[in-house]
Structure formats: structure tokens, C-alpha cells
């Protein structure tokens, strides 16, 4: 479904080169849920933006169903970490979910159906008339997820979507994503810095190195399905996988070249059209 | 990047001047009404060599500076009193909201009757217009005081004076600076307006004279001068504001670190 081949991204600004991603190759099969995990500031966001067509890679390519990604492809939806800033504050929840559908040119009745279905899936049927900022953080992120679902994507990219919500909400949202994935058979690429979350959610975990990023290890998560916050997390196999990923990440951090880490981290988060030197 | 921006800006300015030169020369508009940039430039140079021009400029600046100082002093004092005295805020709110949007030019006939073309006419209009800008910003600033900071200060037993000094004033300062900046440009507008309409001595009156004597290039030259003056006021006020606030933020930064 999704092929990332030899991806490299170098930010250039006022004569300074910052290599955020060095050489990444991995694939995500149709209907798979893959978690990308790596130390903070390792260029995960850069990678995801390249996959989503929001950033042009310096070298290498991203293929979606065998077609090269050059701009945001149809059939691909993005859920950002900053829920508070990715929902349109001047639109009600329903309008937010409907916006991409209007863009697709769907007829009104079909749009209504999709919006209602998506909001029901995330348990927010009653919130359609509210403004996003009237909802709690967790609920806002549910709206963002509903918007992605209503878009009926083949591939869903999620960029640390739960990093900014509290722990209990986070557990609920994790189960929501697992549930939706099983129900709807969407391909999901889920980026996180949280090792437990990666192991709990993923069918497969791709461990990334520190920036400039390469793939350190890919491992299959052979935990039984359905997963459960209580029982899955206490299974010995969960602990084993978790430990293994944890070791890899620690090693990745140690082997990282000592450099201006702070700067690199900021650079990778820089918006596409802004030069890193601005910060 | 900054350099290329300045270059583009200079190009824009050059293009604008070229346009002002070309449009009347090509006959797009009547050169009697819109003289080419070069002729306006000539007129400007002549003005600069004229002593009475400098007197007029001085008159305008006097009216502006005096009016602005009175308005800022009065605005800050009134704002702080309203903020500090209990219930005064609620009592004055409706009056402020009513008086503020009253256009100061409504006072022109009154000013003419009371003071004729004297400086006080100009001051009346300038002070009335600029005062509200300052007062309203001070009131916004006072309202913006973080309730948590206020509670903290109270819980450590800071008195009214100390709370004003360490909580109220630092919070309100950025607003005060914004008020001063807005008031500075409003004051210039009203100073020139008063001179133009009432005939009080200054650049405005000189523009009116140039207009009635059909000295069109001189009129444009004087308008350019008022524009440059406005630009200086804006840039100057912004610089002062940034300085004052940079100091303010660095102090706060040291406290929090």
C-alpha cells in the first residue's frame, strides 16, 4: 500500500544544512497498523509530512499504491498532534468534519450521512453543533479523528495524536483507534514517541534512530487480538517487546552524534514554507 | 532574507515614484492636478529652503507634542484611578463607552468660537482624540491582570501600593505603550486637521493656502511632508514600544528562570 524508499530530507537555510532524515526505507501493507517510534527530535514529523505529500523529500520517494506522492494525495488523511490548532475554530464540529467532503464534491445527503457516521464512531453524535473550543482536549482529538474517518481514506497518518492529552483520555483514544482500524480496515501509520503506546497499538513497530534518521529495527508485535488496556499490558510478551524497543531507543540516543539537538528538533517541526533560521 | 526584503521594498518605492512620474507625463491624468514626481520633488526642495515652512513644521510639532503629552498624562492618571478605586470602573464604563466614539471633529465649531486660530484650538481637538486611545488601553491592560498573580500577591500580604507596582503596572505597561503609539498617530492627524480646517498656523494651514492659491506641486510637497512626519511618528513610537517591552520581557524572563 505504502512504500517509502531511500527517503532523505535536508533542510537548507542561509547556507546551513540540517539533515533531518538520512535514509529511510520501509513498507506498510494494505490494512496494516504500523507504529513508528523513535527518540524525540528524530525527524518523525518530517518523515510523516513527506509521506503525506506536505513536504518534498530531498531524495528518495514515497509510493502510495504504486503511485509516487508529489502533493497531498486523495485517499490519505492526516491527524495532527496539535488538535487545538488543526480544527477550524470558526466552524462547528459538524462543519469541521464536513469541510473535506465538500472539497471532494460529494452531494449533501451523502455528506450528512458520512459526518453523522463518523461522529457516531468516535462517540460524539451530540457534539455536532458545538464549537471545537467548547470541547475538552480529548474530545477535540476525537473530532479530528472523525474528520479523517469521514474522508474515507485508504491510509491514515497520525502524528503523535495523543501526546497532548491526559493519560486516561489517552487510553480511551488508543482503544478507539484500534477499534476503528479493526472495523474499517484502514491502513494506519501511527507516529509516537511513547514506547508502550507503540507496542500496544501496532501490528508492527518500526524503531527509528536519532536524527539524521534511519530505520534501526522493525519488529512484529505478536500480541493477541483484541487488545485490552488491562490484560494486554500485563502480558509477559508485552513486557518483552517493550523492553526490546526501549533498549533500541536508548542505544539510538547514545549513538546519536553530539550536536545541536535542540536546533535539529526545531528544524524538523518547522512548517514547510518557513526556513528553520526563522527560529 | 532580510536583505532581499529591503531590496524588494526599495524596488517597490522606486516603482511607486516612477509611476507617479509616468502617469501625468503620459497624460493618464491631468498634470495640473497630479504633477509628476520630479516637480513635486522640486517644490519640496523649495519648501525646505523656505524659513516659513520650518516655522509651520515647528507649529505642527508643538501642537502634536503638547497635545500628546497632556493626553497621555491624563489618560494614564485617569486609567489608574479608575482601576484602583473600587466601583469606579463600573461607574465610568457607560460614560467612557459613550464619550469615546464621539468624533473629535465635532468639537471644531466650538474650538473656533472659543479660541479662534490659537494653539489652544488645536490642543482641544488633539487632546480629546488622543486621550481616549490611552485611557481605553490602560483600562484593557488593568483588566488583563492575571487573577492568579493577583491572588498570589495578596496571599503574600502585598499591599495596594506593592501590588500596583509589581503586578498591575508590569501587566498594563504593554497596553500603555500601545495606547501611546495609537495616540501619537491620532494626535498628528488631528493636529494637521485642525490647522487645515480651522486655519491655526502649521503645515495644515499651509496646505490650505497652497490649495486656494492653486499651487498644486507645493500642496503635494506639503502632503508628502505630513506623510513622512506620520511615518516618523509611527516608526519612532514602535521603536520606543519595542525597547520598553524588550526591557520588560527580559526582566520578567529573569524572574521566571
Amino acid at each position: 500500500m505504502l512504500d517509502v524508499r531511500g527517503l532523505r530530507k535536508v533542510y537548507e537555510a542561509s547556507g546551513r544544512h540540517v539533515e533531518a532524515v538520512r535514509d529511510l526505507t520501509f513498507t506498510v501493507g494494505a490494512g496494516e497498523l504500523v507504529c513508528l517510534v523513535g527518540p524525540s527530535g528524530c525527524g518523525k514529523t518530517t518523515l510523516l509530512k513527506c509521506v503525506g505529500g506536505l513536504l518534498a523529500p530531498t531524495a528518495g520517494e514515497v509510493l502510495l499504491r504504486g503511485r509516487r506522492v508529489t502533493g497531498p494525495p486523495p485517499g490519505l488523511a492526516f491527524v495532527f498532534q496539535e488538535y487545538g490548532r488543526s480544527l477550524f475554530p470558526w466552524m462547528r464540529v459538524g462543519e469541521n468534519v464536513e469541510l473535506p467532503l465538500r472539497q471532494k464534491g460529494l452531494p449533501r445527503s451523502r455528506r450528512r450521512e458520512l459526518v453523522a457516521g463518523a461522529l457516531r464512531s468516535v462517540g460524539l453524535s451530540d457534539a455536532s453543533g458545538a464549537y471545537p473550543w467548547q470541547l475538552s482536549g480529548g474530545m477535540q482529538q476525537r473530532v479530528a479523528i472523525a474528520r479523517a474517518l469521514a474522508y474515507e481514506p485508504d491510509v491514515l497518518l497520525m502524528d503523535e495524536p495523543f501526546a497532548a492529552v491526559d493519560a486516561q483520555t489517552r487510553a480511551d483514544l488508543e482503544d478507539l483507534v484500534r477499534g476503528l482500524w479493526r472495523q474499517r480496515g484502514i491502513t494506519i501509520l501511527f507516529v509516537t514517541h511513547d514506547i508502550d503506546e507503540a507496542v500496544y497499538l501496532g501490528e508492527r513497530v518500526v524503531v527509528l534512530s536519532a536524527s539524521p534518521t534511519v530505520v534501526r529495527e522493525e519488529l512484529k508485535v505478536d500480541l493477541p487480538d483484541p487488545r485490552d488496556q488491562l490484560t494486554t499490558r500485563v502480558e509477559p510478551r508485552f513486557a518483552e517487546l517493550r523492553t526490546r524497543v526501549y533498549r533500541q531507543i536508548q542505544a539510538a540516543k547514545r549513538s546519536a552524534e553530539p550536536g545541536p539537538r535542540g536546533a535539529v528538533e526545531k528544524d524538523t517541526d518547522a512548517p514547510a514554507d518557513q526556513a528553520p533560521s526563522a527560529t | 532574507m532580510r536583505g532581499s526584503g529591503a531590496l524588494l521594498g526599495a524596488a517597490g518605492l522606486a516603482g511607486f515614484l516612477a509611476l507617479c512620474e509616468a502617469v501625468p507625463r503620459l497624460g493618464v491624468v491631468d498634470a495640473d492636478y497630479f504633477p509628476p514626481a520630479a516637480r513635486v520633488g522640486d517644490a519640496l526642495l523649495t519648501e525646505l529652503g523656505d524659513r516659513s515652512f520650518w516655522t509651520a513644521l515647528g507649529d505642527t510639532l508643538t501642537g502634536w507634542a503638547l497635545g500628546l503629552s497632556i493626553a497621555v498624562t491624563a489618560g494614564v492618571l485617569a486609567g489608574v484611578v479608575i482601576a484602583v478605586v473600587p466601583h469606579l470602573r463600573e461607574l465610568t464604563a457607560s460614560t467612557v463607552e459613550f464619550l469615546r466614539p464621539i468624533p473629535s471633529v465635532a468639537l471644531i465649531p466650538l474650538a473656533v468660537l472659543l479660541y479662534g486660530t490659537a494653539l489652544r484650538s488645536v490642543l482641544l481637538l488633539v487632546v480629546y482624540a488622543a486621550f481616549w486611545q490611552v485611557l481605553v488601553q490602560v483600562l484593557y491592560g488593568v483588566r488583563d491582570v492575571d487573577p492568579v498573580a493577583e491572588e498570589t500577591a495578596r496571599s503574600y500580604g502585598l499591599g495596594t501600593w506593592a501590588r500596583g507596582r509589581y503586578v498591575l503596572w508590569p501587566t498594563a505597561l504593554p497596553y500603555v505603550m500601545t495606547g501611546v503609539r495609537l495616540a501619537a498617530s491620532v494626535a498628528l492627524i488631528l493636529a494637521v486637521t485642525a490647522e487645515l480646517v480651522i486655519g491655526a498656523p502649521g503645515l495644515g494651514a499651509r496646505i490650505a493656502v497652497a490649495q486656494t492659491s492653486q499651487a498644486v506641486p507645493e500642496m503635494y510637497a506639503l502632503i508628502v511632508v505630513t506623510g513622512l512626519l506620520g511615518l516618523l511618528v509611527n516608526v519612532g513610537a514602535r521603536t520606543v514600544e519595542r525597547r520598553a517591552l524588550a526591557w520588560h520581557q527580559s526582566v520578567r524572563g529573569e524572574v521566571t528562570v
Partner: protein
């Protein structure tokens, strides 16, 4: 109920006191410049008859509306273009800064050269003075679109007209309204001034006529009408703004509440 009563008495107390002071202080005034408030108020209905409102207030308001709306449309349109392209912005910035800094009333003699002293002149004067606050605020607002929001829109294929309508303009609208508010007070000033300069009707013309004819109580009523007009227009503006920016004020209120989300 009692709270509302308290609020009302707070709102009315000071104005009542001020009016009373004015009334009493001017009651025995023999100074021609400061006629007793009683006289001014008694003159009011005689001066501002429906016929006069139609003949003087309506033309003024129409000129104001024409100039103001022209400035709003032109300012938002140009500001959106300039704010969307960094290079265009760099080119235009110094020129815009200069043109904005020219005190708008000096435009009156210039525009009189071109457009004579008719209604066109007044509308043009108002429009050319009001356009700058709208334009510059729109540029700032358009430039400051949240990058996350912009990427969200891009990733969902929102572009072209939809991007403008659903992303850029709403996101810039708080700034645009700030500009429109400034423009309103500039507009009223210019309306009055352009009529004082050269006109045969309108509020500014009438008030100056009273002053020149030493009809002082009448002049005072004119000043009151101008004040009232400024106040009413500002109230109207606030109503419209509250409507249009309901989301913005709501979000700010949420952010401000102690323990609220920022």
C-alpha cells in the same frame, strides 16, 4: 434581578450626575458660548425636524456608507493578495507604510482637484482614508494563518476559493474587524471634514453654518447629534462584530477562564 438593577444603576449613575452638573452649572449662564443646557435641549426638536434629518443626516450617512463599504471591499481584497505572497508584501510594504501615515484629512484638497466638490469627492475622501487600516490589518491577519491549520487544509485538498473562504478569511477576520473598527472612526471624521470644506448639505455643513451664523444653541445641538451618531454607529459595529466573531470571543473567553484551555 437585583443584580441587573445594580448594573443598570451603575451604568446610569455617572451620566445622570454629569447631566445634572451640566444643567445646574449652565442654568444661569449668560455666556453666549455656553448656553444653558435647558435652552439647548429645548432647541433640539426645533432644529432636528424630520425634514432636516432627511435633508442633512441622510446624505451624510449615505456618503459615509458608500466610502466605508468601498474601502472595506478594496482593503480586504488587496490585503488578501498582498498578505498571501511574501514578495508582493516586501515590495509594497514601504509604500503602504508611507501612504498610511499621511493624515487622511489632507486628502480632501487633493481629491477636490479631481472630483470637484460633489458627492463623489466626499465618498472618495472617505474611501481613501478608510482603506489603509483595513488593508494593513488584513495583510497582517492573512499572513498570520496558523501553519498547522494551513497544513490541515492542504492535506485535505482544500484550495482555491474554498481555501480563501474557509481558511484564510475567517482566520484573518479578527484582524480585519480591528481594521474596520479603526476605519469607522476615520470615516466619521472624514465625513464631517469633507462637508465642512465644501458642501451644500450634510451634518458637517450644517454645524459649521450654525457656528458662522452665531446660532449657538443650534450649534450645540449639532455637536450633540454628531456625538450621538458616533456613539450609535459604534454600537451598531459592536453588534455586527459580536455576531461575526462569536467564535473568536467565545474561544478567548474559554482561554481566559482560570484552568481553561489556552
Amino acid at each position: 434581578m437585583s443584580r441587573a438593577l445594580l448594573r443598570l444603576s451603575y451604568a446610569l449613575a455617572l451620566p445622570a450626575v454629569l447631566m445634572a452638573v451640566w444643567w445646574l452649572a449652565s442654568a444661569d449662564s449668560t455666556n453666549v458660548y455656553w448656553p444653558p443646557l435647558r435652552t439647548v435641549l429645548k432647541t433640539f426638536p426645533d432644529v432636528w425636524t424630520p425634514g432636516r434629518l432627511r435633508a442633512d443626516v441622510v446624505p451624510s450617512l449615505l456618503r459615509l456608507a458608500g466610502g466605508y463599504l468601498t474601502a472595506a471591499v478594496v482593503g480586504v481584497a488587496l490585503g488578501t493578495v498582498i498578505g498571501s505572497y511574501r514578495r508582493v508584501r516586501s515590495v509594497c510594504e514601504p509604500v503602504m507604510e508611507f501612504l498610511r501615515a499621511v493624515p487622511p484629512p489632507v486628502l480632501v484638497p487633493v481629491i477636490m482637484l479631481f472630483a470637484g466638490i460633489g458627492d463623489t469627492m466626499k465618498v472618495l475622501v472617505i474611501a481613501s482614508g478608510c482603506v489603509w487600516p483595513v488593508l494593513l490589518n488584513t495583510v497582517e491577519g492573512v499572513r498570520a494563518v496558523d501553519p498547522v491549520l494551513a497544513e490541515t487544509a492542504r492535506s485535505y485538498g482544500v484550495r482555491g476559493v474554498a481555501r480563501l473562504k474557509d481558511l484564510v478569511l475567517p482566520s484573518a477576520s479578527p484582524q480585519i474587524f480591528a481594521g474596520l473598527r479603526q476605519a469607522l472612526s476615520v470615516g466619521i471624521i472624514l465625513m464631517v471634514i469633507s462637508e465642512m470644506f465644501a458642501a451644500s448639505d450634510g451634518l458637517g455643513f450644517t454645524v459649521v453654518q450654525f457656528q458662522r451664523g452665531f446660532a449657538l444653541p443650534e450649534m450645540w445641538t449639532g455637536i450633540l447629534v454628531l456625538g450621538l451618531l458616533g456613539f450609535l454607529l459604534s454600537v451598531l459595529f459592536q453588534v455586527v462584530e459580536r455576531r461575526a466573531l462569536g467564535w473568536y470571543h467565545g474561544r478567548r473567553a474559554v482561554g481566559r477562564r482560570p484552568g481553561g484551555r489556552s
